[in-house]
């Protein structure tokens, strides 16, 4: 009565090569630490960085990585969890990891931490305004400056939250980066990417300032996946008149990428949120403080 479905090998026994530790989810991310940003081109050009894009494009993993790397470089980093779309895989789930590293997380307090209510804390508006008050060069040119990262929910639905914060952003005082994964449904070709870009722009009421190519297929990502994604995003960049700010990819794959392939820097990502069975960022059941 054991079906064929049941005889499929369990996911970890499928023979694919995996880095040590991660295979059993044994890596302790807080002990391991995150390295400072080596390539200065990865540094934000403005004190406020908005990360938006399609649902499941990898915004949150990217936001957490960027924050931890900037923190390691010496910046004061604050990250606002603005995901009002879904109650799973939000950056608040890396609360312990961020706190250990000294990154300030702004997420709803108390039991609202767990809700899917559209809770936009009033201090977020203040934080954006305050961060944008100084001269941009002073703020971001050197490590030690204050940086605010806004991790926005997916698709146009998630980007609407930005429209509600209109007025807080100083013109030219923010970077609005679209994270694009061209292996996701609806964004596999130029038409889909353009549509996503337009919808997010319309919903946010802000004009994007750059693109991030983050094409991946989780553990099945290979070099060609990343290169193909970069090509598609570059095509969009030409049509939309926007720069590709960076390519992001899993740290395990980054060394294999030919450096000459890109006109932009590469951000190597450490998988943080992971799956429920991994022993990564989650040291205990999710709690708030």
């Amino acid at each position: 009565m054991v079906s064929t479905a049941g005889q499929r090998p369990a996911s970890r026994d499928d023979g694919r090569p995996r880095p040590p530790g991660a295979a059993n989810g044994h890596s302790d991310l807080s002990q391991r630490g995150f390295p400072p940003l080596a390539d200065s081109r990865l540094r934000p050009r403005q004190p406020v960085v908005i990360l938006a894009g399609g649902l499941g494009s990898g915004k949150t993993e990217l936001a957490i990585n960027l924050c931890l790397r900037l923190r390691a470089t010496g910046d004061r980093v604050r990250i606002a969890d603005l995901d009002i779309v879904k109650p799973f895989n939000r950056c608040r789930e890396a609360r312990e990891l961020l706190a250990d590293a000294g990154v300030e997380l702004i997420a709803p307090p108390g039991e609202q931490f767990f809700s899917d209510l559209p809770v936009i804390l009033p201090e977020i508006r203040g934080m954006i305004r305050e961060a944008g008050a100084g001269e941009p060069e002073e703020m971001t040119a050197e490590p030690g400056a204050g940086i605010v990262v806004l991790d926005v929910g997916g698709d146009a639905a998630g980007a609407r939250v930005l429209a509600s914060l209109a007025g807080a952003f100083r013109p030219d005082g923010y970077e609005f980066l679209l994270v694009l994964n061209t292996s996701r449904p609806f964004t596999t070709d130029l038409a889909g990417l353009s549509k996503m870009c337009d919808e997010v722009r319309a919903a946010a009421g802000l004009v994007p300032t750059g693109l991030i190519a983050n094409t991946h297929l989780m553990d099945e990502t290979d070099v060609e996946t990343v290169l193909g994604g970069y090509r598609a995003v570059s095509e969009l960049a030409r049509t939309a008149g926007l720069p590709v700010r960076m390519v992001a990819c899993d740290e395990r794959l980054a060394p294999a990428l030919p450096p000459s392939s890109f006109d932009c820097p590469v951000l190597a990502l450490t998988r943080v949120l992971g799956l429920p069975e991994t022993r990564g960022a989650r040291k205990s059941p999710l709690t708030y403080v």
Binding site: R12, E277, R279, P285
Partner: protein, 349 residues
């Protein structure tokens, strides 16, 4: 793909031509995905005024012989129970996807497995059963969605896909090309206008108690056939001698596998039986595996529901130990491994 999207796309591959829904966290992504996709494939997408209405729309649409489905989460699933009874009674094929959240009452939006009883016994009134399939990965969610449509048609019965928020939100690569839906069968019973035949009437009311009992006996034979033919189970790490046998399904089974691996490195032999079909429950597989184990533990994201089926399956070997968290608290692999370690070592003493 995310689990929610994979379910939606798999349903389209399975030939679903209509999807009715009412938004509820944590599965609204299915609706949002299909709002875009159904029009592209010429299918029907409709957001109804309530889960009550949605489930009854499914009755009407299924009565025409089309493949139809919905997705919801626990409180919405309760509201659909009325129509499920009628759909089971009228013998219509409909797929219900329940992405469970916490309860009771409004509960919370995080992952839980508290609707096991509701799904595997029956959600509504009367003497009926539905096949219940519980995926533990995005790929499996897609495959079981396709299977659900085929099963619904095979038995002319509602079929439930029971997942939790973790499965719905999890992103994993999916191969949709491997999905092989069965060919939709002829449906001479469908209400499509009586041209060239006598009128078809789809109903579940039989006033004569003897006629009604006969119908119930016929349905009950159908449910027994499901028990004989539709059991699905995954066995993980089976050995001849086990320190502990674990029974878990869905997301909880994934966490248990990591815990089993952790203890394996410590020299403890643990195995997992993961029911894929919750009804019919893989009782024989549980019993067979348990004969090699000194102890059995059932692990759930609830305070203990499936454990009753495990106890029934264990018969003379039972009862099972139980470990569960609820309220949306998902235990870490280390926490689960700790519980297993205590049970396994306790068993050795």
């Amino acid at each position: 793909m995310k689990g929610a999207e994979a379910i939606g796309e798999a349903a389209i591959r399975a030939g679903a031509s209509a999807y009715f829904c009412y938004p509820i966290t944590p599965q609204t992504e299915v609706a949002e995905y299909l709002a875009k996709r159904m029009p592209q494939v010429g299918g029907v997408f409709l957001q109804g005024e309530s889960e009550v209405a949605v489930a009854n729309m499914l009755f009407g649409a299924a009565a025409t012989g089309k493949r139809v489905f919905t997705s919801t989460s626990s409180p919405g699933f309760s509201l659909m129970a009325e129509a499920m009874s009628y759909i089971a009674g009228a013998e219509l094929p409909v797929v219900f996807i329940n992405v469970m959240r916490c309860g009771p009452g409004l509960g919370g939006v995080l992952a839980a497995q508290g609707d096991y009883w509701q799904a595997t016994r029956n959600s509504g009134h009367g003497d009926y059963r539905c096949p219940v399939l519980a995926p533990c990965s995005v790929q499996e969610a897609a495959e079981l969605t396709v299977q659900a449509f085929d099963l619904a048609e095979k038995y002319r019965n509602p079929v439930i896909l029971l997942a939790d928020g973790m499965i719905g939100q999890m992103m994993e690569p999916v191969s949709l090309d491997s999905l092989t839906p069965g060919v939709p069968s002829e449906k001479p019973w469908a209400t499509t206008g009586c041209r060239g035949r006598d009128p078809n009437i789809i109903k579940s009311l039989y006033l004569d108690p003897h006629v009604l009992e006969k119908m119930n006996l016929r349905l009950s034979a159908k449910y027994r056939r499901m028990v004989d033919e539709e059991v699905q189970v995954e066995l993980y790490n089976q050995r001849d001698r086990l320190d502990l046998l674990v029974v878990a399904y869905g997301t909880m089974a994934r966490i248990c596998k990591t815990a089993i691996d952790i203890l394996g490195e410590e020299g403890l032999h643990l195995a997992l039986v993961r029911p894929i079909s919750l009804f019919p429950f893989p009782a024989a597989a549980v019993h067979a595996a348990a004969r090699h184990a000194t102890r059995v533990v059932t692990v759930e994201l609830s305070q203990g529901q499936m454990v009753e089926d495990v106890d029934l399956a264990l018969r003379e070997l039972g009862p099972s130990e139980f470990f569960g968290r609820s309220g949306g608290v998902v235990p870490t692999p280390d926490e689960v491994a700790g519980a297993f370690r205590r049970l396994a070592k306790g068993a050795c003493q």
